[in-house]
Amino acid sequence: MLDPVELQRIAIAALSAGAIVLFGAFYAVCLALGRLKTLAFLLRISYLAYAALVVATVLFAWAMNLAGWWLVLVVVLLVGYFVAPRAIWRLSVATHESSEPKPPTGAGGNE
């Protein structure tokens, strides 16, 4: 059953929704940069961004009156935003490694 957002929560609902996507992107950027440059502080910031995303999602669920099976959406969002950037990272590494030319091997290869 659908329970529309309450009048005084329209702004919170919209802002928290925007925050979910923006924190999701910030988490993804920090994660990728942190791994790329092997910078631990960026990885820590990425987890902070994800924590902010969790807060925004909870706020979103409250403002939108998500209940019953709609809570499945909250779980899928939290898992999706956490897992997808990591999966894409692995995919990036794999696709680039498999398509990059291998260093010459055999006699004289390193001469």
Binding site: V5, L7, A13, N65, P85, A87
Partner: protein
């Protein structure tokens, strides 16, 4: 002026023109693409002008009343946008097809005739829109004047003509790939063109039940914009990245497949967010809300790939304006489709926002960010070749101020307009929908509130900023690279050999 001096000037102009435009070096498909790009830009101007007029009418409702009514203005504004983007896509496909297939365009003459037929039809349809603004709605008006379906108002005769023209377009593109070589990009592109033309058929028949009618109509509107157009843009982007950055074919093709899978995964059933309030069964609330909410996740995930590639390869660009517009495309798509879409996609809030200026805010940024930007990028790539593969990287003679400022003004104008419309839409959702209960009186009450009126004023101001950006863009497109003698910067993926088919591989003899 003495005759000798006049001759010198004439010779200088001729020499300058020879440097400026190198049409003979283009293939038949590329020359055809330039025609499509030219009409696309003319329609972009039309879109902007009719948009400005419609914006003024929001502030002064009596402005041009009875001469050019708001509903007609709005219709031409939106139709011009759809058609210029389609022209941009068709031009982009014609630009890349021979390069990608490695052979000359199949049916070049037919394709040229097709262009003139399509363009004439578009012109006639617009003239009829403007000349016959009011009148009785009969069966004949559906066939001759206006079919009445928002966004795809073209009369039935034009509908049939569009399908025929798309059929010819498909024949020339698929035929060229069949004669030449196939690739991941071309295979995806051809399959997508079948879907693009096929989906249009869903918007061509009437039923007496409005809910059923709207159900099929959304197939065209949503599945074009959030499925087939996205895939088409993905193909163009993949080819564009190889050309401007020297990205490797294996990588862009792999990511094209992944993008298509992710997009279809959430995008097709995301169609449900249009079915919330048209009388379809209640389960669409759940399906539409759930899958629409997932749509931004692929966009966010792709950020990782962009960071990875940029950091690992340190690409250099052969065409700075094109690259800048490709980057604008990435950000615009993320913000317009991702953020602005998600903030009102669940039925719990969409109940209040659907059809308000909030929707217009999302529509403006999403269309501009996802589609206008990439067509402009492709036009810059085309211009570079047209000028004779000249330098378009850093250190342009005028420091590239025109392309930089046009990029800034167009994007700032669009963002400003988007935020202004969002404020107006928020107020409208609040007063008209949530408090007023969507009554006719509440509709007018909402539009007289200060926030709505001020939002519309700011929208107008930023519309003028965008118009200034468009003027600069057109000026730059006409002049960039003129007189430039340095060859284009060679780019390649530093991590390995470029998978791109070399630009000069194809015979450039006029066809």
């Amino acid at each position: 002026m003495p005759a000798e001096a006049a001759m010198d000037v004439g010779a200088a102009v001729a020499e300058d023109t020879a440097v400026a435009l190198n049409t003979r070096s283009l293939t038949a498909g590329q020359r055809l693409a330039l025609k499509y790009f030219t009409v696309a830009m003319v329609l972009f101007v039309a879109q902007m002008l009719f948009g400005l007029l419609a914006g003024i009418q929001f502030l002064y409702p009596e402005f041009l009343y009875g001469v050019l009514d708001f509903n007609v203005n709005r219709m031409v504004h939106i139709n011009a946008m759809i058609v210029w983007m389609l022209y941009g896509f068709i031009g982009s496909v014609y630009w890349l097809v021979e390069d990608e297939a490695g052979v000359e365009l199949v049916g070049a003459k037919l394709a040229n005739i097709n262009f003139w037929v399509l363009t004439s039809a578009v012109a006639v349809v617009v003239v009829v829109y403007l000349v016959v603004q009011v009148g009785p709605g009969k069966q004949s008006t559906i066939w001759l004047i206006n079919e009445g379906r928002e966004y795809i108002e073209a009369p039935r005769w034009a509908d049939i003509g569009i399908v025929v023209c798309m059929g010819v377009f498909f024949y020339t593109i698929a035929g060229t790939f069949m004669k030449g070589r196939w690739s991941g990009i071309s295979g995806t592109l051809v399959l997508d063109l079948i879907a693009l033309a096929g989906l249009y058929l869903a918007g061509m028949f009437y039923t007496t039940n409005l809910s059923v009618d709207q159900y099929w109509w959304w197939w065209v509107v949503h599945l074009w914009v959030e499925a087939t157009w996205e895939v088409l843009v993905g193909c163009i982007m993949a080819w564009g990245l190889m050309k401007t950055l020297g990205a490797r074919r294996e990588i862009v093709t792999t990511w094209l497949y992944i993008e298509v899978a992710l997009m279809f995964g959430a995008g097709i059933l995301g169609l449900g967010h249009h079915y919330f309030w048209i009388g379809t069964p209640e389960y669409w609330l759940g399906i539409g809300g759930f899958f629409s909410a997932l749509e931004p996740i692929p966009l966010v995930a792709m950020v990782v790939h962009a960071v990875y590639d940029a950091g690992r390869h340190g690409f250099q660009s052969s065409n700075h304006p094109a690259l800048a517009w490709l980057i604008a495309h990435a950000f615009g798509n993320f913000l317009g489709a991702g953020v602005w879409g998600f903030i009102h996609t669940l039925p719990q809030i969409n109940l209040y926002t659907h059809g308000t200026q909030w929707t217009a805010s999302h529509g403006h940024l999403a269309f501009f960010g996802a589609y206008a930007t990439i067509v402009i990028a492709l036009i810059y790539i085309a211009l570079q070749r047209w000028r004779g593969d000249v330098w378009m990287s850093a250190d342009l003679p005028d420091r590239g101020w025109k392309w930089k400022w046009s990029l800034i003004l167009l994007n700032v104008g669009m963002m400003g307009m988007t935020i202004a419309l969002l404020i107006a839409g928020y107020e409208q959702s609040f007063i008209e929908r949530a408090i007023g209960g969507s009554t006719w009186a509440a509709f007018f009450e909402g539009q007289t509130q200060p926030w709505f009126v001020q939002g519309m004023q700011w929208r107008m101001i930023f519309g003028v900023v965008m118009t200034a950006g468009l003027v600069l863009l057109l000026w730059d497109l006409l002049t960039i690279g003129r007189g430039e003698t340095r060859p284009a910067k060679e780019v390649h993926d530093p991590a390995g050999p470029s998978g791109a088919i070399e630009s000069g591989a194809l015979s450039r003899a006029p066809v």
